[in-house]
Symmetry: D5
Subunit: 147 residues, 10 copies
Amino acid sequence: MNRNDVTEKIIATKVSKGLKWESVAKKVGLSKEWVTAGCLGQMTFDEKQAKVVGKIFGLSAEEIKWLQVVPYKGSLPTAVPTDPLIYRWYELVNVYGTTIKELIHEEFGDGIMSAIDFSMDIVRQPDPKGDRVNVVLSGKFLPYKQY
Amino acid sequence: MNRNDVTEKIIATKVSKGLKWESVAKKVGLSKEWVTAGCLGQMTFDEKQAKVVGKIFGLSAEEIKWLQVVPYKGSLPTAVPTDPLIYRWYELVNVYGTTIKELIHEEFGDGIMSAIDFSMDIVRQPDPKGDRVNVVLSGKFLPYKQY
Amino acid sequence: MNRNDVTEKIIATKVSKGLKWESVAKKVGLSKEWVTAGCLGQMTFDEKQAKVVGKIFGLSAEEIKWLQVVPYKGSLPTAVPTDPLIYRWYELVNVYGTTIKELIHEEFGDGIMSAIDFSMDIVRQPDPKGDRVNVVLSGKFLPYKQY
Amino acid sequence: MNRNDVTEKIIATKVSKGLKWESVAKKVGLSKEWVTAGCLGQMTFDEKQAKVVGKIFGLSAEEIKWLQVVPYKGSLPTAVPTDPLIYRWYELVNVYGTTIKELIHEEFGDGIMSAIDFSMDIVRQPDPKGDRVNVVLSGKFLPYKQY
Amino acid sequence: MNRNDVTEKIIATKVSKGLKWESVAKKVGLSKEWVTAGCLGQMTFDEKQAKVVGKIFGLSAEEIKWLQVVPYKGSLPTAVPTDPLIYRWYELVNVYGTTIKELIHEEFGDGIMSAIDFSMDIVRQPDPKGDRVNVVLSGKFLPYKQY
Amino acid sequence: MNRNDVTEKIIATKVSKGLKWESVAKKVGLSKEWVTAGCLGQMTFDEKQAKVVGKIFGLSAEEIKWLQVVPYKGSLPTAVPTDPLIYRWYELVNVYGTTIKELIHEEFGDGIMSAIDFSMDIVRQPDPKGDRVNVVLSGKFLPYKQY
Amino acid sequence: MNRNDVTEKIIATKVSKGLKWESVAKKVGLSKEWVTAGCLGQMTFDEKQAKVVGKIFGLSAEEIKWLQVVPYKGSLPTAVPTDPLIYRWYELVNVYGTTIKELIHEEFGDGIMSAIDFSMDIVRQPDPKGDRVNVVLSGKFLPYKQY
Amino acid sequence: MNRNDVTEKIIATKVSKGLKWESVAKKVGLSKEWVTAGCLGQMTFDEKQAKVVGKIFGLSAEEIKWLQVVPYKGSLPTAVPTDPLIYRWYELVNVYGTTIKELIHEEFGDGIMSAIDFSMDIVRQPDPKGDRVNVVLSGKFLPYKQY
Amino acid sequence: MNRNDVTEKIIATKVSKGLKWESVAKKVGLSKEWVTAGCLGQMTFDEKQAKVVGKIFGLSAEEIKWLQVVPYKGSLPTAVPTDPLIYRWYELVNVYGTTIKELIHEEFGDGIMSAIDFSMDIVRQPDPKGDRVNVVLSGKFLPYKQY
Amino acid sequence: MNRNDVTEKIIATKVSKGLKWESVAKKVGLSKEWVTAGCLGQMTFDEKQAKVVGKIFGLSAEEIKWLQVVPYKGSLPTAVPTDPLIYRWYELVNVYGTTIKELIHEEFGDGIMSAIDFSMDIVRQPDPKGDRVNVVLSGKFLPYKQY
């Protein structure tokens, strides 16, 4: 057994039981973004969280232990994603990559926007011309250290 | 001459003159994100905008014409970016890709978040534990058409 | 169980029962192109459609649920397809890619032809010199947004 | 000098003179799709056509000769295109590839849709919900030969 | 079950029974090249041929049906083949590719040598300095269509 | 200066002077296949041959020397060729690769068909249904040595 | 002009003048590791540092400006480095990658070792069996944020 | 059975029993870095060590034999690692690769830092601004031999 | 069953029985290099040799037949090997590749060193400064044929 | 100027002057293998050697300095070489890679054959059935260190 097996079981149970990520997140007590990422094998639950998740998805004691092990991260099967929804994000990085770099450096100097001390919030923004997906990404700026 | 030559000239002039993208954007009258992307060869200026940009960077008439031609987009030299700042964004897509997919589909059903009818806003969020980079991405949801 | 298992079962059943995609599509009540793509794991059926498909291919209740889950899209095993029929389409994109780009931009300006608000129609066109495959692709033009 | 140099000169001249592919095609007397592909270095002009093109773009006698040499085809710099407009076509092949294969084989049996005995027609289809790009692809069906 | 399973069964049976492709081909009544390609999952048998193949290799009724389904073609596990015999062919394409292109265009103009309306004949040519493999490839020339 | 420069000069001169590979080969006194491959930078001329080639294409003494240096072989810019004519050959290797392997081994045992002690002959075969390209490949069989 | 041109000039000047990175670093007043990385186009100098570097390598005012612009980072021409010295480091990551991951997580929990708030020190450690290269890497541990 | 099966069993047992690499290493009597690498299938245990490891993880006699067979090394599933912790190390090689090369050559001349006669020590360095991961890498310098 | 299954069984049996390749080779009556390559699925045994190998490793009649079938060669899982021992050989080809090419051509003219009519001998050479691995590679020179 | 420029000048001079690597090596006083590798930009000359090489090839003082700088090694333009002579060596690593690994480990235990403390000797071995290329590779065995 490995973490991937647990992830596949969670996904299959979600389909057969018709669960929602949002309600899973509420029971865990954290954002839907972080909890979904955890259920999909990208984040590490603490013992209490893992037990909540385990109960929702009917996991065994051993499977619950796996939720507490830091996983080998990376959720995509190919370097350039084929799924159209995920590809659009890859495209944003490709088209806007140098723009993002220029503007963050203009504001903050040399360094990066952390993907670890990071949060993400995905919401629906109603719009008469068609609702929009609004995503707020927040990452701590980390300046390059001189030494 | 091609669009890439114009982009390189803009960047070199920005360095030698010590310009700021934000002030360029103000003169063009649009957001700093879109205008920077345009100056970096990813967006198409209309005639009036192109002339403003041309004046700022000392471009020739022919170079100003190139700003109005739709460019071959894609700003990165490799499929997986090596630059640490840009790589963090690639990593977000890699680690959170399936999470983003799940949550948008849970809220909207099958479809994508547009990268064309799209805007981005990058701002500094002061934080006593270290300032943060906050980025708001807004894309129209486009449902898959059944036919 | 995952969507891929369902796709494989559908294909195997189609072979053993000698079914036609066209007749499957008629029962579902949509085009043969969209329904085939759905059966091959690229589109999402609603509950009613999924039940029709499930009945045709003898799927279980759980398999029918999987048909209603948005799949991870992408139907090809390699970035450059090896199958000669599919490769010809890749070749068209490769040889005519810049031509298509130039002509759409000349007519519509900067933007894209949507692959989401999209339909496709494949028909036989009789021809004394050898029948032809005629394919009509129709995608909404989406202009790049300025902001 | 090589064909690529001629292509670059044609594109640069088109920008500086503000020409349209459609009017170039009219002067050549063939479709805008084939003529644009030829000007972009993907098709071979005969002597008469080459002279027309040469006159429009101010080409030298040697450059006009290059237009009559069969080029090394392939117009994209990477196997998976980064430009959003062209990528959508790649995505169509990726998402619909197996569907196209199934439906052509269902109708015609084993074989391919030719990309050589082939034509393409790109037109604007007015639509109150947003105009559409309609593309008709027509390729001769070539059955696999048994021997 | 899929076509690949059938191919593997055919190969395993060939080994355990010590069959020859040449004798298989004779029973099918076509060339050894086409029949072997079919048995290896690259060509489509008609019903009568499939039954002959099925009898030789002890296939089930369902397996015989799979032989009549157009396969997803491509017989190699990597884009550049590692097997020395097959690599030599890849090397020929690599070293002589532009030569073949030049000479076919010199003789026929722009177009291709079909890999569909195609036949291949592999024979031993006795030679005192060491026997030779002689391969005759015959493909219909398909001129690029102007339109 | 390097061999590639010489190859480019030969090709450019061929276009501007309107030469034919076949007539070049006749003057050199070898087959059109080998001589074209040599002119395209894949084979090594001896001194006498190099002088003939040099005279035809107006090469300098130094360029003629380069024709006698063994080149770094490989004539294609990408591992999978994009040019449709050359791709068809790659496709043959891909689709028929395992077939060729099986049949050569069935006839000769373990070993390869040499791509060094090798010749190729490309001829037009008239055919009322459309002329064909016939290619005869002849390579010495080299058995694997046991030791 | 771009940062790469400045890097090449610095390297060429270092060779022709026979300079040492260690003495360059002393004049800049920072470690040899950080200063060398900066001179090789991977770090950003402030104005004062840039002037010192400029004086050492005889850079122009514009070149000195480029040293103060955040560069597009990544110093290797291929994803897997070919140079034996650098490859050994890639090999360490490849062979010990999962070990490093396990041990950092065992000590610190989920998170990463920063490559931004980071320093490196390379020293010679005399050893009678052959001197050793000792490298101390020090990176701040950044825990994954829950939200 | 192969070494990979043994590695997977060790990892699964570690999770279910809640073991620590550090305590495993103590029982083996070597560093935590080398022992972990060995347990993860990258190093070769001698008989005595293998028995200790086998006892801790409940391995069979055959599994203990596999621990003594030199493994095919390389612990990562992709050439560029996706896991953020491991990627940071890849990034260090990418950003600092040429710097490391320059400084080792400046100190030692042409040669490499061995990844075989090598040791690594990972420790926590307490720091009020956030604890740090300190890693000491020690590799014998191997000069290139002239001959 | 396929050849790969037989290879894996041979390797597993070798581990569990503690066999040596050298003694296997002696029983077969050929060199340890060729016999090991055969056992690892890269060479083809004749009937008598296969029976000897089958007896040593306890193979079934069908498995012994597979040893006599020409395998699909190539023993490495990735194009650039990750295993340090094998990588050093790849590195030799990479660093010395052009040198080997130059020196063989200087001595022999255009052609190759055969990898088919080839033998290899690996021996230990005692050396007070550390024993050495000496490998003698012997390949027939094959001159390029002119035609 | 960089090392690559010096390498290209050396090669071009060798062609125009008709020099032999063997005679260059004699003047340098080292083996033809090491000296050729050095001239091709893979090894580092000391001052005295560099002056000898510089005199032979008419290099400037600055070019002679570059010969003494440790180069970025790797002589091949692609990860899998296209040149037939060099490919045969890649093929040897691919086909015999696991065999070499098994036999060195059987003789020496875990470790590698050094590619740094290494020498190579290429000689012609006369043979009535066709002369052979004999290559002796000698690398120090480096055992993996336990710690």
